[in-house]
């Protein structure tokens, strides 16, 4: 039993050691700071690692943008779904919500990546590409090129698709958080004459905040770790966007940048340094995941203390 149970731990240790050993070459040969080094904003174009520019700052910034966009969409919707399924049920509709979420959770991520074009047609093209405008560039847009507008690849579209991936994953966690609030607290609030909405706002949600934060951090980790949607909808390697907040340009997150470095699906284009840089990207992702988990742990402890008082 112990031997079987300890195997996942050994696998995890092997993965981390493997990443560390393989990323050694990139750290030694490419270096960390400076032009085109690992922690710089300079990156060569898509799949052209021959230039030897392995900057990962655009990747880190892209990860941040994707997390912000997907969380801004996913958290309110998941919260509404959780509240609808647990507190504000409408008869059988509220009970069916959980089943619906379980079914939607089975849809694989490649389907969302494949169907991103539908949402580009429905939302991105009418709203952000000047649909109905003549193909001549408008005055003042000197950088505008016919193919440059965000038709099917942009950080916004990738964030929308990733949010659709993580909503069925986050909403049941939120629902569990709301259900785990002791009934005596809710009943005390209701018994003092507060309405259910008021109880939800002042009693249930503040008490459930601790579990809500841990659910959010799981959602952030899932959004950060996704590579299929990020690679297909956003792109593999890209420079920093010129206004940093521009989500309509495609800024590849760290995962798909690493996938582009590794070039794994093309056996002929194997480049030892690039592969090593990909391993360094994996190590960076691991460190970021641990950092997020640590921050969540600290936040949870703080809120635990606050509720106990």
């Amino acid at each position: 039993m112990l031997i079987l149970a300890i195997l996942p731990l050994i696998f995890l240790a092997l993965i981390v050691v493997n990443l560390a050993i393989n990323s050694r070459e990139a750290i030694v040969n490419v270096g960390l700071f400076g032009y085109g080094k690992l922690l710089s904003p300079n990156i060569s174009g898509v799949f052209s690692t021959n230039l030897g520019l392995y900057g990962l700052l655009p990747g880190i910034w892209g990860t941040f943008l994707v997390i912000v966009v997907s969380m801004a969409i996913a958290v309110p919707i998941s919260m509404a779904m959780a509240i609808f399924a647990s507190e504000f049920t409408l008869g059988f509709l509220g009970k069916g919500m959980r089943t619906t979420l379980g079914i939607l959770g089975g849809i694989p991520s490649i389907i969302y990546a494949l169907m991103a074009g539908v949402f580009a047609q429905l939302f991105i093209v009418p709203k952000f590409t000047g649909a109905g405008l003549s193909p001549i560039p408008p005055p003042g847009m000197w950088w505008w090129k016919p193919g440059s507008l965000p038709f099917n690849t942009s950080t916004l579209l990738g964030g929308i698709m990733i949010s659709m991936l993580i909503i069925p994953f986050m909403a049941p966690l939120f629902e569990d958080a709301i259900r785990n609030v002791p009934n005596s607290l809710k009943e005390a609030s209701l018994g003092l004459g507060a309405s259910r909405w008021h109880t939800l706002k002042t009693t249930t949600l503040p008490y459930a905040l601790r579990e809500i934060i841990s659910a959010c951090s799981l959602g952030v980790l899932t959004a950060m770790g996704d590579v299929v949607i990020a690679g297909i909808v956003i792109g593999f390697e890209s420079p920093l966007p010129t206004p940093l907040y521009d989500v309509l340009k495609s800024t590849a997150p760290l995962t798909s940048t690493g996938a582009g470095f590794s070039g794994g699906f093309d056996q002929g284009a194997f480049n030892a340094t690039a592969n090593s840089a990909a391993n360094f990207t994996g190590l960076l992702l691991l460190v970021m995941a641990f950092a997020i988990m640590g921050v969540t742990y600290i936040l949870q402890r703080r809120f635990k203390r606050r509720v106990a008082r």
């Binding site: 079987l4 149970a5 490649i110 952000f128 507008l149 996938a259 590794s262 794994g264 691991l286």
Partner: protein, 465 residues
């Protein structure tokens, strides 16, 4: 005894405080105002939702916002007249409506600049403003229409909850409808049972008493090897991950509660939350490092081409199952843990007090009790396996030389990606039209597994009650 007339009037006013504007006796104006607010705000919500996608409704938001502002101002005056209190929220709301209508009037139809890579249509901003202003006013109108009781307060908050749910369910509906619409047309029994074959070779044929090289080719579209690959991957992953997952779950709950158990639990959480890209990279390294050695037959896989030559592939089903099981083990372990923790302690104590050993109690009491949980976790893990692409992304092949444990790994999700990525145009020319059919089959497999898990979970909850 005379009652102070001012006191009497105060009592009369107090009764007005608790009733709503619309339910007050004889206040036809109040009823009309509240009804108009509900109707206008409801129209505004519908218009805002439609404006998120349509550009042609651009001319409607401004008059609607002005109307809403006028209504809110009227409501402010009326509540002041009836209730003798100034609800400043209403007048602030009216002001916001007028200001946003004025801002929309000033905006040009297309917005661009600041080097933003896009030309933003005005209706996007108007949709956001409309939704932000009409949803609260709709709630306010509903509250007074339903009688201003605490129950009405609850009921009037439903629009805030329902609006995002309806929007996202419509989005999921559109997505699934598009997949099925594009995919079902090409689906047939024939395509499900034929394997994909793409071969170009030459053979010596006697023509006019002379041997000549004649190019031969098989270009046969089919999906059977991808479906079989997905099923094989699910089976092999289950074989690896069920014993490990169950062992982890039992060990963490029953055998040890010390530091080692905590470390194992933490490693499972980490395996679930680290990026799948890291796992894919590990699989690639595993294949690359064993490439020259005899282990390549196991990790990289092999195949025989049509002339009978043996080739080393880029990654075997065994490697893929080994890596994907790292994703599935935490799910099964968590489910086992939940099942064992939910078992009533009376059963376990009864078994132990009657003289049964720990091992006997575990295998005869606890595991049978946790079995439905384990099955649920296993089914969810199977759904995860069917959809997982990132772990096998770097090592997959087209799988046209058969599906066995040590053949080149392939699955439906990799097929969809490979068609989508335009790397191999020959492949796309043969199989391109079946991309959405494969998506339909993949959705059916994954969703069927999820539905089975949901049904078993529902049965489980009934058993506990």
């Amino acid at each position: 005894m005379k009652i102070n007339p001012s006191l009497e009037s105060n009592v009369g006013n107090a009764s007005k405080y608790v009733t709503s504007i619309a339910k007050m006796r004889g206040s036809i104006i109040g009823k009309i105002l509240v009804l108009a607010t509900v109707v206008i705000a409801g129209l505004g919500i519908i218009l805002g939702c439609l404006s998120l996608s349509l550009n042609s409704l651009d001319s409607y938001p401004i008059p609607l916002l002005v109307l809403l502002g006028i209504l809110m101002a009227c409501l402010f005056v009326y509540t002041q007249h009836i209730k003798r209190e100034k609800q400043w929220g209403l007048i602030i709301f009216a002001g916001l409506s007028f200001i946003s209508a004025y801002i929309l009037r000033l905006l040009p139809t297309y917005l661009y600049g600041f080097q933003i890579n896009g030309i933003i249509h005005r209706s996007f901003i108007s949709a956001l403003l409309l939704l932000a202003l009409t949803v609260p006013s709709f709630c306010y109108g509903l509250y007074h229409m339903l009688g201003a009781t605490p129950k009405a307060h609850d009921l009037s908050r439903y629009p805030i909850i329902m609006l995002p749910i309806v929007l996202i369910l419509i989005a999921y509906g559109i997505l699934l409808y598009r997949v099925f619409n594009l995919g079902v047309g090409n689906l047939s029994w024939h395509i499900l049972i034929t394997p994909f074959e793409f071969q170009d070779w030459s053979t010596i044929v006697w023509q006019n008493n002379w041997p000549t090289w004649v190019p031969q080719s098989i270009h046969q579209p089919g999906l059977s090897n991808y479906i079989m690959g997905t099923l094989l991957l699910i089976g092999m992953t289950s074989v690896i991950s069920i014993p490990l997952g169950v062992a982890v779950g039992i060990y963490v709950t029953e055998r040890s509660k010390g530091k080692l158990a905590k470390t194992i639990k933490f490693s499972c959480t980490t395996l679930k939350s680290i990026s799948v890209f890291v796992l894919g990279l590990t699989a690639m390294t595993l294949v690359r490092d064993t490439y020259g050695t005899f282990l390549a037959n196991i990790f990289a896989g092999f195949y025989y081409d049509i002339q009978g030559n043996r080739h080393i592939a880029s990654g075997s089903f065994f490697t893929a199952a080994l890596i994907i099981s790292l994703l599935v083990i935490p799910i099964i372990a968590r489910a086992t843990e939940e099942g064992i923790l939910s078992s009533p302690s009376d059963l376990k104590e009864g078994s132990l007090s009657l003289g049964a050993s720990n091992q006997y109690t575990l295998s005869h009491i606890l595991i049978p009790w946790a079995l439905p949980n384990i099955v649920t976790g296993w089914l969810l893990g199977c759904a995860e396996t069917a959809g997982s692409l990132a772990t096998i992304w770097f090592i997959s092949g087209t799988g046209q030389y058969g599906t066995g444990p040590f053949n080149s790994v392939t699955s439906l999700s990799y097929f969809i990606y490979f068609v989508h990525s335009d790397i191999d145009m020959n492949f796309k020319s043969v199989e391109g039209i079946y991309q959405y059919s494969a998506a339909v089959i993949l959705i059916i497999i994954a969703v069927a597994l999820s539905i089975a898990a949901v049904i078993i979970k529902g049965r489980l909850q009934k058993r506990y009650r």
